[in-house]
Amino acid sequence: MIPNALVAVAVGGALGALVRTGLVELAPREAGQWPWVTFLVNLAGTALLAWLVGSLAHHPGPVVSFIGTGFCGALTSFSAFQIEAVQLIGEGALLLAAAYLAASLGLGILITVAVSRRSLQAEPVV
């Protein structure tokens, strides 16, 4: 018997991976350019996860597994984020690579702190 949570994670993961990979395919990064797709997708997924977990803090369950662990987890990517920084360095854009790493991490944690604070104050949404 496969637990429901695992099915929710798998379906959400498939959708998240398709959206991210599809967007990268639609708007591929040119050499020496800021990786806009991964950058924005990572920050948007981070905001959605923080909001979801904060709002449903008292109601964990299949919604968190599906949208949180599955969709947001797979929509956002650590490996793509790192390889793009390495590729930028290979393309001679050292400062851009450093800025990309720093901006993603800095904005990511700021968004998480801000959204978590707001959603924890709000009434839980079921």
Binding site: G13, L18, S79, I83, S104
Partner: protein, 119 residues
Amino acid sequence: MTPWVWLAVGGCGAVGAMVRFGAAHVTGPGRTHLGTLAVNLVGAFALGVIVGAGSSHRVLLIVGGGLLGATTTFSTWMLESHRLGHDGRRGHAVANLVGSLVAGFALTVVGWWLGRSLA
């Protein structure tokens, strides 16, 4: 790209998300960030290898975008780091953020170099 490639991206994304979910379960409550760290580092290294090896566009989409993209995560990394700080484990939070970033970058470079050497 044929529909089969996108079916594979979705299928591999599902597998990747389940692997990540499993890793967080193995490390257990209060330590899920260690499971996330493990999959993020392994995934970053593996993506370095396949990119360094000059893999085809199809492999990059399915294995890179689908499997490794979904196994690794940015959002959970941020949320778990925030939680560590929120629980009074500030040092752990900073270590999880900076440690993941530095180790992930280093492993991606090593993977990329290894992939290029093997190709």
